[in-house]
Assembly symmetry: C2
Homo-oligomer: 353 residues x 2
């Protein structure tokens, strides 16, 4: 039996989110039995321009509003790369219109907002996934095998995660990620999201008890974080630190150290090469560089996994996979606590539950 | 004209410091025009055993006390690998007896003690150097070239330094580094010393204004630090973090990130290989792995540099090189502030001057 085709809508393809939209449009088009059915922006011309530039098939409908995409009965799922301030409204509406959706990170401005998205997804049987691409790279599960190997890695003691890139003047003035009215979470919601996720991933998604933001965070004149760091503490004595910044040269590292082994990766967010990605392990049995090859870039891996879940719901009446909601929610909880710690002058701050 | 031979005494070769003493004895013996003239321990038998085991030339005198080594008029310089609690007494006495000396790290229990050592060195025209081997590896100056390159590296924004090793049960019970009566600074004075030094090195030895120890430090039942971390903040907005531990698998990393470039090294304390050592650079001109080859292990590089300074004093009447006192003192100042921050419950703590 042929696979059910899944028809996507792209929600938001204005200038601010065009780069992401293009990447995902390509991934959707390249995934088997998946098509772009519609693109919508708050301006018809923007949507049209985007479709022409992004290899969206000519058959795709062009809409001058987001709502029109959600109202299209031929659209099964939507990709939502809108600025974070708009997530609550459009993600909840997508769920109510029974559209499964891929939501860009940070998923919301805070966990209170995100809980409304969770509720809408659960009430409407809608599959959710956030756009954290590296989670879907085959290297990630290979690294996890090592972290889970009690013989070689032992027990996790500490993690350090680092994501920075040097934004140019235009970005620092005009990007949505530095605008309090569009984002508000700045480098913490963008680069920091990946760091927090990587730490939670290494810790099997056990939440830390407390976080303490590091002195020395940098905010712009509107109070949006441009660089910050935090330490995290767990019940069992595990610790972690991360640093995220728009103001330093590119670095995207995870160092996870156990009682017996050490894992290092230097390009965890966007692998230097599309077809192979490496990480290094050190343990009693020696030091080794591990290379994972893949035919598919990570955005296609993500779209495929999302398609698999959606197809399983549509074809087999499966339940939605709630794991992705839970992982996003935990990431947001830690992010909220770090933000609160910065606002309280770097006080230790309990992580919500 | 032949170089003046420099005659060393080894001060302390009891069990507790034997490994270090052996390494340095070998380095002294392998350095040109340098000999071991005497070895002393607080027991004659210990000293004799050490000499027999460590390739110390049969001509060397064996003493049953440290003082006898310092009183020997044929000894020009001494190497002092004694436990930190004994540094003040024996380093000051060495200076008073006009012996130049190499002192193991941590150089003292606190900067008040170290200042007495500084004073004794200055009053007696004695050359001082601490035993931080990696400073003398030729890779270190190569890395510094990159950090100083405003075109490729830009301005330093943040440094992360990490040194841990998984001590075995015997170490955690019996090593001097976990005994409050012999050391007292634990992992902070040992592994942390290297981390702090590497951060100061990256920052051209500009002291941070404040340090804030990270929640989650681990102390043994005697209150000695087994694992801890800290963040550091500078006047100009630069930040750094470090983590040091006796409880995690081996890791010895520096990551220094500038506005334009990133430097990474994964074996800064003891290079994986004796004859070559690598580091990686990333900047606009690309990513590159840089390999520095050397015929000499870093301990010989250190002994040679020390010999050069001592010889210059003896032969040419040069002034002592005060840089090493200054660098050790700054390292101790930061270490003291981190210790104070831990003791004050992880409060931000000003670094002394």
């Amino acid at each position: 039996m042929a696979e059910t085709p899944i028809r996507f809508g792209i929600l938001g393809c204005a200038e601010v989110s065009r780069k992401l939209s293009k990447k995902l449009s390509r991934a959707i088009t390249l995934s088997p039995n998946s098509t772009i059915e519609a693109v919508g922006s708050d301006s018809f011309d923007e949507a049209k321009k985007f479709a022409a530039e992004s290899g969206v098939p000519p058959s795709a409908k062009i809409y001058g509003s987001y709502e029109a995409v959600l109202d299209d009965p031929d659209v099964d799922a939507v990709y939502v790369p809108l600025p974070p301030k708009l997530h609550l409204r459009w993600a909840v509406l997508a769920a109510k219109k029974k559209k499964h959706f891929l939501l860009e990170k940070p998923v919301a401005l805070n966990v209170t907002e995100f809980d409304q998205i969770v509720e809408a997804c659960e009430a409407n049987g809608v599959q959710f996934m956030d756009g954290t691409l590296w989670m879907h790279h085959p290297r990630t599960s290979k690294m996890k095998e090592f972290l889970s190997d009690k013989q070689r890695f032992g027990h996790l003691k500490t993690v350090h995660s680092f994501f920075s890139f040097a934004a140019n003047d235009d970005f620092l003035k005009n990007d949505i990620r530095v605008k309090p009215d569009l984002d508000g979470l700045g480098a913490l919601g963008d680069a920091g999201w990946y760091c927090i996720r990587s730490i939670l991933w290494a810790c099997d998604y056990v939440l830390p008890n407390t976080v303490t933001a590091l002195h020395g965070s940098v905010l712009n004149e509107s109070g949006v974080v441009l660089a910050c760091g935090s330490s995290l503490q767990w019940e069992d004595g595990k610790t972690a630190t991360f640093y995220c910044s728009f103001l330093s040269n590119m670095a995207m590292d995870i160092t996870a150290v156990g009682t017996k082994g050490t894992l290092k990766v230097h390009d965890f967010i966007i692998p230097y090469e599309e077809k192979s990605a490496s990480f290094s392990l050190a343990s009693k049995t020696g030091f080794m560089e591990h290379v994972v090859t893949t035919d598919l870039p990570q955005e296609i891996c993500m779209v495929r996994e999302f398609l698999r879940l959606v197809r399983s719901i549509k074809e087999c009446g499966s339940q939605t996979e709630s794991r992705w909601l839970s992982i996003s929610r935990k990431t947001q909880l830690v992010l909220d606590a770090v933000k609160a710690s910065i606002e309280k002058g770097f006080e230790p701050t309990q992580v919500g539950i």
